[in-house]
């Protein structure tokens, strides 16, 4: 296969040069953040660090971490490093969780983000000859806008479909010869099923490649999507905190995602101690945005557990690769694409007058997540009719849906019936096999 890159000089840059570039950018970025973000300046002062202590990437470990809690504390403008008049865009996470992240972008930030997405599209074989169907949601969610921008940069004919209306998606796909599909892997699988129901065989689907991300998926799921749509399926990674999809992406080798190291400096740390771990170790992924202007997070803890490896890649790219995230260092689950924290379930139970004795059971049937919450009843919540109990279950499910944005199946169960190991209740049972 012909080796093609969107920005060859950067994507194939010798490792020593990448590190030199990162060091130069880091020194400038730390100064920019220190001067413009009082919140982070305070964190640095607490650690006794000044920009003068940072001479290059070897000094990165001296800087304080940022966590999701900091983003919440500083909401909405506390981590902004540019005046609002210089910002041109806001993107945000789903928001119904009460842990909304609002990210700001200057035009420069949008450009570098779209460049990252363009690199991913080219790595998946995209050229200006391609028709790129973007079926990620458009709006505050970064998926649609990110890949849309990347598609424009590559020069693809862009189909800004957003998600949903699956039969219409397939109609456009076949009528207009879409060759690249960008969406979540679960939606890609659904499109595959729907196409089959509509009587289409994989060779009647014009697609050649897909770029899928924003939620965990397995190799098995990849093979299923590849077979159903007759394509090669590529993984893409990113988070709103760092800009959106495109922080890293897969190349033709499909053995991990190249991190766009000229923009994002990655570390793996021990999630318990914060200690930086050597290359090849499994730990929590931490990102430092090297040249974002408006929302430049330094040492942001993603909570994703993965491994970084730098080996020569057959695609010719020199940037370090990250494995698919193997789990989370906190207790967050992603169910049907939505972030769910057990603490949110607990909050609802307390509000509704229940004890926080519950168990969450998540599974995947076909390509859909099932989401059940078992809740222990008190004697005063016990009704002597089936209707009374099911009405209570429904009321709890509705209250949870209002907070989470997705609908669980609630089961009321007898007191002390939820499995406890060594006296501690097992809060989450995730039966999905999302990590190989």
């Amino acid at each position: 296969m012909e080796k093609r890159y969107y920005q060859p000089e950067i994507e194939t840059m010798p490792v020593e040069e990448i590190k030199k570039l990162q060091s130069e950018k880091l020194v400038k970025q730390v100064r920019h953040v220190y001067d413009n973000v009082p919140y982070y300046r305070n964190l640095m002062e607490e650690k006794g660090v000044t920009p003068d202590d940072i001479h290059g990437i070897e000094d990165l470990h001296k800087l304080p971490f940022l966590t999701k809690a900091d983003l919440r504390d500083a909401y909405p403008y506390g981590l902004l490093a540019k005046p609002l008049k210089d910002c041109v865009r806001i993107q945000s996470t789903s928001g119904t969780t009460g842990r909304r992240v609002v990210a700001f972008y200057t035009q420069h930030d949008i450009d570098l983000w779209e460049d990252c997405c363009a690199r991913a599209i080219v790595a998946a074989g995209g050229t200006e000859e391609d028709v790129c169907q973007v079926a990620y949601g458009y709006g505050l969610f970064t998926g649609g806008p990110g890949l849309n921008g990347g598609s424009h940069k590559v020069g693809c004919l862009t189909l800004p479909m957003s998600s949903g209306f699956t039969e219409r998606q397939i109609q456009f796909m076949t009528d207009l010869n879409a060759t690249i599909l960008c969406c979540t892997p679960s939606y890609a699988a659904y499109i595959g099923e729907t196409a089959k129901e509509m009587g289409l065989t994989p060779d009647q689907i014009p697609l050649k490649a897909g770029i899928f991300g924003a939620e965990p998926w397995t190799e098995e799921m990849r093979r299923g999507i590849e077979a159903a749509l007759g394509i090669k399926a590529y993984d893409i990674y990113g988070l709103t905190e760092t800009s959106g999809p495109g922080v890293s992406f897969e190349c033709s080798e499909q053995t991990g995602m190249h991190i766009n190291e000229d923009h994002f400096l990655a570390e793996i740390i021990d999630p318990d101690t914060g200690e930086v771990l050597p290359e090849g170790s499994k730990g929590e992924l931490v990102f430092t945005a090297l040249d974002k202007e408006a929302f430049p997070l330094l040492r942001y803890r993603t909570r994703d557990i993965c491994v970084l490896t730098r080996k020569p890649c057959s695609c010719g790219r020199t940037h370090i690769k990250m494995s698919k995230p193997m789990g989370r260092s906190d207790d967050m689950m992603i169910i049907r694409g939505v972030n769910v924290f057990p603490s949110q379930i607990e909050t609802v139970l307390l509000q509704e007058g229940y004890q926080p004795n519950y168990q969450i059971v998540v599974d995947r049937v076909g390509n859909n997540d099932t989401f059940e919450v078992n809740v222990e009843m008190n004697p005063d919540q016990f009704e002597d009719t089936v209707g009374g109990i099911t009405a209570r279950e429904k009321a709890l499910a509705d209250a949870m849906k209002a907070i989470l944005g997705i609908n669980p199946k609630v089961h009321l169960v007898a007191p002390k019936s939820i499995t406890r190991s060594e006296g501690k209740a097992v809060r989450v049972i995730d039966k999905r096999k999302l990590h190989d």
């Binding site: 009843m377 004697p379 016990f382 002597d384 009719t385 089936v386 109990i389 007898a414 019936s417």
Partner: protein
Amino acid sequence: MSLKQLTVFVENKPGALVAITDTLAEHKVNIRALSIADTQEFGILRLIVSDNDTALVTLTREGYLIKTTDVVGVKIGDQPGKLSKALAVLDEAGINMEYLYAFMSRTEKHAYVVLRVADNAAAETALEAAGFHLITDVDINKL
């Protein structure tokens, strides 16, 4: 006037019911009548027993979710059409019924119906006015 029913939450798994009846047997509690409402996930066991206090204390100690519910007990002649007549009385009085179950007496030729209705007092008044005989916890042990 009322009749007390014990209501026990039963998990839908093998052995759940026998564990309850064993506990009652060990404590010499006699079951006079029972009914179970079940769904895929759980069951609700309703019991009329010879000794409410003992049953309540022992099952609670065993960790069961249990409550006492006031129900209406009606004596009904063991003949076709008698139950219909009792139900018609409630219907005419506009009293909604949640559930009912019936049992026979060992000593008399009578059936007894346990009724769970929206308004116990109204049901009792209507049934008595129509000539039905109501039973209480005291009667239960004489049956």
